[in-house]
């Protein structure tokens, strides 16, 4: 409902927006110091206190599909840090409106908005000013589609909803300081003159100080049938104007509340409303926040003064947040995003991958032989640091979201495989470790971009238990990791054997049986390792479910997925023990185990049924089926190995 109210306000305010030439839109650059201070501003969003940097980054990610803003399309545009973009939205909205920050995935959406054909491309990013003419049509469409359930919406319908949300959110940010830009007329009546010392106009903060008196006057003058509910008096008009601008400052919530019992932070609109209520008036510090923003606006072109004012504002907000014990992890979160541990991890794994390629070509090179594991270790260290930071920031065990399962699985796989390499020294585990490291971090990155939401969200009530997150979730995710590790090693075994067999049949060297037998033993080891954690994790999940929902097992899709992994592992181990399968069978089965694990990890979330539907991952089916397709090809490769086996054996005997 609130969204539509804001949308309505938006539509009415479009008419008043005047076009400005590019020449007038130039603004001084934000210094690094200003951006750094802005990064640390605490805000409350999506149920938790976070740095402005995080808030701005995920806003721009939602809108643009990337973590940075850009001032123009193509090479002319300069990249902007999230907080710098946020400052532009607040202090230079006319400039921010020209940035192409709205990703439109489908030209049909633009068609529905009535945007001229020459502007339209299949997939591009557009500025607010470009999309503005079609907003009304778009919001009508979004309202019409709002009755359709998310899973039943077409991609275009989803895109419409997302674009409207982004435009509304952007406009909310761009209008945030409209209250401070406005000068409120206070010379229309003797009472107003008396109240404001005879001034002609005043700023919002001054009106705010007298808000309660104004309200009394307004209520005294109010009579039924007044247009828009405000009396046609100078006081009524003033009150209407203030109320209008106040509505525009709802996002984000900058102001910590007073009293530890109140958990919801206030937006500037809330401060105004609190000022009107006699029972819960805002504190002087809270009122001062409005005035500080006014001063910041006044100093927007003077970077030195701006920095001073921004630092004051930040210090004030930090102080208020610290009094409530809510600022503690904000600096750590800024460090987490500033240091980009995951990016460094990815770079290191990529470097390791390149070095690895050289190492396979020059296996006796000692420098490379030391550099590759080192790259793996450094990448792993960066990844573990990132996970540790997240644990500290959230005060949670390592995994509580789907995103974190990717990080954890990657860390476990790389860590365990590096340990295996330490013992076996065959470079197989090392190679798989590096490849899984690259793939894991890439996947985490793609998921964050795809989802576009804060990766450290608040948790639902049922998940709010560190004990079960630390035991069941950690165990089951370790089980996933081991199963995927087994699948990766099995992929290597099958493809390697296929290549070796073909080479042998073409007159090349014979396959090194001992080497491949040892790889198969690694597959076996990974399956065993996986069984321990999958089985214990699954049962612990049942024990948790028994405590939370009253039943140990409910055949819920997520539970079934976990059970399927255990059954596949057990079937493989029993088949091997019974002599039904050997190395090839184990490898083929382990590839199947990888498919079952992907099904359990991601696919069952798509069903949107059952008690575990708190982790849906819309829009990843295509990637999943691509994975199933690739693994099917590998399975065919396994059949190829089986078919070539007699020929290779004959070849060996003939020698």
């Amino acid at each position: 409902m609130m969204m539509w109210l804001v949308a309505a306000l938006l539509v009415t305010s479009f008419a008043a927006t005047s076009s400005t030439s590019d020449q007038e839109l130039a603004r001084p650059e934000w210094s690094a110091e200003i951006v750094a201070v802005a990064d640390h501003l605490p805000v409350q969003d999506d149920g938790r206190v976070k740095p402005l940097k995080t808030f701005a980054m995920f806003e721009i990610l939602q809108m643009r599909g990337l973590r940075r803003a850009k001032t123009a399309r193509g090479d002319d545009g300069a990249y902007l840090a999230p907080s710098a973009w946020f400052l532009d939205c607040l202090f230079y909205p006319e400039v921010a409106k020209t940035y192409p920050v709205f990703l439109v995935e489908n030209a049909e959406v633009l068609g529905a908005m009535g945007i001229a054909d020459e502007v339209r491309k299949e997939r591009d990013r557009y500025s607010y000013n470009e999309l503005k003419p079609g907003f009304e049509k778009l919001s009508d469409l979004a309202e019409r589609y709002s009755t359709i359930q998310f899973k039943d919406k077409t991609p275009v319908q989803r895109q419409v909803a997302r674009l409207v949300r982004n435009l509304v959110q952007f406009r909310a940010l761009a209008s945030f300081l409209d209250y401070a830009r406005e000068r409120y007329k206070v010379d229309g009546s003797d009472r107003l003159k008396e109240l404001f010392g005879g001034k002609e106009t005043v700023r919002y903060s001054e009106v705010l100080r007298h808000a309660r008196v104004l309200k009394e006057i307004w209520l005294g003058q109010w009579k039924e049938g007044d247009p828009k509910g405000y009396p046609a008096t100078p006081e009524g008009r003033l009150f209407e104007s203030v109320a209008h601008y106040t509505q525009l400052s709802r996002v984000p919530s900058f102001v910590p509340p007073k009293g530890v019992d109140v958990v919801e932070w206030l937006s500037l609109s809330d401060v105004f409303e609190a000022q009107l209520r006699a029972d819960a008036p805002p504190t002087a510090k809270q009122l001062e926040v409005c005035a500080r923003f006014e001063r910041l606006l006044d100093a927007r072109d003077d970077r030195m003064v701006f920095l001073t004012e921004l630092t004051d504002l930040c210090t004030s907000l930090q102080g208020m947040a610290e009094e409530r014990g809510e600022y503690g992890t904000v600096p750590a979160e800024v460090i987490y995003y500033n240091f980009k541990f995951l990016d460094w991890s990815q770079y290191t794994f990529l470097l390791g991958f390149v070095l690895l390629a050289f190492l396979w070509m020059a296996p006796r090179n000692r420098v490379l032989a030391k550099a590759v594991p080192l790259a793996g270790l450094v990448g792993l260290a960066a990844l573990i640091t990132a996970i540790t930071f997240r644990c500290y920031i959230r005060s949670r065990p390592p995994i509580s979201t789907l995103y974190e399962t990717i990080l954890f699985i990657t860390a476990i796989n790389v860590g365990v495989l590096l340990l295996v390499e330490l013992v076996s020294r065959r470079r197989v585990a090392l190679s798989i470790a590096i490849v899984l490291g690259v793939l894991g971090i890439f996947m985490a990155d793609r998921w964050e971009l795809h989802d576009g939401r804060d990766t450290m969200p608040t948790l639902q009530a049922v998940l709010d238990t560190n004990f079960w997150l630390a035991t069941h979730v950690t165990c089951i995710t370790t089980g996933y990791a081991a199963s995927l590790m087994a699948a990766a090693l099995a992929n290597f075994w099958i493809l390697g054997n296929l290549v070796a067999a073909v080479r042998a049949l073409r007159g090349g060297p014979k396959p090194d049986d001992e080497f491949w037998r040892n790889v198969a033993r690694m597959v076996y080891g990974a399956v065993c390792f996986g069984l321990l954690f999958s089985l214990v994790g699954t049962i612990l999940g049942g024990v948790w479910a028994n405590d939370s929902w009253g039943r140990f097992w409910g055949w819920d899709p997520k539970e079934n997925g976990a059970l399927m992994i255990c059954l596949m592992q057990l079937a493989l181990l029993h088949a091997r023990m019974g002599g039904l399968i050997k190395h090839l069978g184990l490898a083929i089965g382990s590839v199947g185990l990888g498919v079952v694990t992907a099904f359990s990890w991601w696919h069952v979330n798509q069903f949107d049924i059952g008690l575990h539907s708190y982790g849906p991952a819309p829009g990843i089916l295509r990637n999943l089926f691509t994975f199933y397709g690739i693994e099917s090809v590998v399975l065919l490769g396994g059949i190829g190995v089986w078919l070539l086996k007699p020929a290779v054996r004959r070849l060996r005997l003939s020698h």
Binding site: D464, G550, F552, N560
Partner: protein, 423 residues
């Protein structure tokens, strides 16, 4: 080395019977056959086959839930002994989850506990097998004995009864005096398996009439005859201008509202009463027989608790600025033989009392933004095997840890030796 061990174990698991001298008596042959069957049941092949079959069942049961809901999938694939399915034009009965798990338990006992080689190398496996068997047993106990349902309470409301999630019962009440009724119940298992075309007659000497149930539908509603209906009439019967229309069952079976017709025929054939019973009717269908007053009602099965629960207060908190629930909890007064006591029930912190477990399950009303007061919904179950899975988990974890640690140790040793030799 591994292969030899495998062959040894294979033989011990009875995949191949031991050779016998010729000329043995018939008893010996019978023993040998029994031994073979015993060996087959406990063999690795059967174990692998059963595990793969259970895997396949779990997969199709999971996929089936997408369209038909959890309960339908559970009843068809997991709780059933056999289920019918068509592959192409051919239909066939396949073993359901219950049969598969019974066979797995037998396989586990025979192969994994009795016939398995007992040595230091297999001690971990043995322990893990015991744990898994214990886990299967806990599932069986829960499946056979447990009752589960829900209880909804408004603040200051007290109850010592809870209602089943899915099961129904038909209650026939006989008025003994003003305000005093004697109840007779037809249990869920006796009529909910019927199809719309089935009928079943219940006779009892304590009632002057027989009760014939027909036209049962798992989910339906009575509609006026002649009104267009998006369902099919469960029978052609027309009762006072109404008929029962069967609707497509919900994916969430707890939202299904059952209905049926009931024909009450006097034992002497003098009088007949026909009525539509519908699960959502709040009041019973009242009628008179031989000067006595009776009522009949279709309702969710009800179970008595050995204590009463009174909701003092329900509290819930959202994450600030969101509609994401952060916590919800109920302060209740539990009154039993030991007197009343105050208890707080919250998510992940159930109440265990009198053999029953009471969980904080849900709340309402959820469609009103800021209701004046909330009601609390508790899930209640009486699972005698409540803690067994937890104990089984410890046993399995210990067993697997022992076994795989030994395996890991062997591998590390072998690899270390190999690397040393190679260098």
């Amino acid at each position: 080395m591994t292969n030899i061990a495998t062959q040894q174990q294979q033989a011990e698991h009875g995949d191949a019977g031991a050779p016998q001298p010729q000329g043995l008596a018939a008893t010996a042959r019978t023993k040998r056959s029994a031994f073979k069957v015993f060996g087959l049941l406990g063999g690795f092949k059967v174990a692998t086959l059963l595990l793969l079959w259970l895997l396949w069942l779990t997969f199709i049961g999971t996929w089936y839930q997408k369209d038909f809901g959890l309960i339908a999938a559970q009843r068809r694939f997991f709780d059933s002994f056999f289920f019918f399915a068509k592959v192409g034009p051919f239909g066939c009965y396949y073993p359901g989850g219950a049969t598969t798990m019974i066979l797995l338990a037998i396989n586990l006992i025979v192969g994994g506990l009795i016939r398995i080689r007992k040595s230091t190398a297999t001690i971990g496996i043995l322990i893990a097998h015991v744990g898994i068997l214990f886990l299967l047993a806990s599932g069986a106990v829960k499946f056979l004995t447990s009752k589960a349902g829900q209880l909804m309470l408004w603040p200051d409301e007290t109850s010592s009864q809870f209602t089943a999630w899915y099961d129904w019962e038909i209650v026939v009440a006989e008025q003994l005096s003003e305000g005093s009724w004697n109840q007779h119940t037809i249990l869920d298992a006796d009529f909910t398996g019927m199809s719309a075309s089935d009928s079943r007659t219940f006779k009892t000497s304590v009632l002057p009439f027989d009760i014939k149930i027909f036209g049962f539908t798992q989910h339906g509603e009575p509609r006026q005859v002649g009104h267009g209906a998006n369902g099919r009439a469960s029978t052609a019967s027309n009762v006072d201008g109404f008929r029962l229309v069967a609707l497509k069952p919900n994916k969430d079976a707890e939202h299904d509202i059952a209905g049926c017709y009931v024909l009450l025929s006097a034992k002497d054939g003098s009088h007949n009463e026909i009525a539509i019973l519908w699960g959502r009717s709040e009041h019973p269908y009242l009628f008179e027989f031989a000067g006595k007053r009776y009522g009949v009602q279709l309702r969710r099965s009800r179970f008595e608790l050995p204590f009463s629960l009174r909701l003092e207060e329900f509290r819930m908190a959202w994450h600030p600025g969101t509609r994401k629930p952060k916590s919800f909890e109920s302060d209740v007064i539990v009154a039993d033989d030991g007197g009343p006591r105050a208890v707080r029930i919250s998510m992940n912190r159930p109440l265990r009392a009198g053999g029953y477990i009471v969980y904080q399950s849900n709340w309402g009303p959820q469609h009103i933004p800021n209701p004046e007061k909330f009601y609390s919904i508790f899930e209640i179950s009486d699972n005698p095997a409540d803690k067994w899975p937890e104990w089984a988990c410890y046993v399995i974890a210990f067993g697997l840890l022992v076994h795989f640690s030994m395996k890991l140790n062997n591998w590390v040793r072998a690899e270390t030796v190999r690397v040393r030799r190679a260098s």
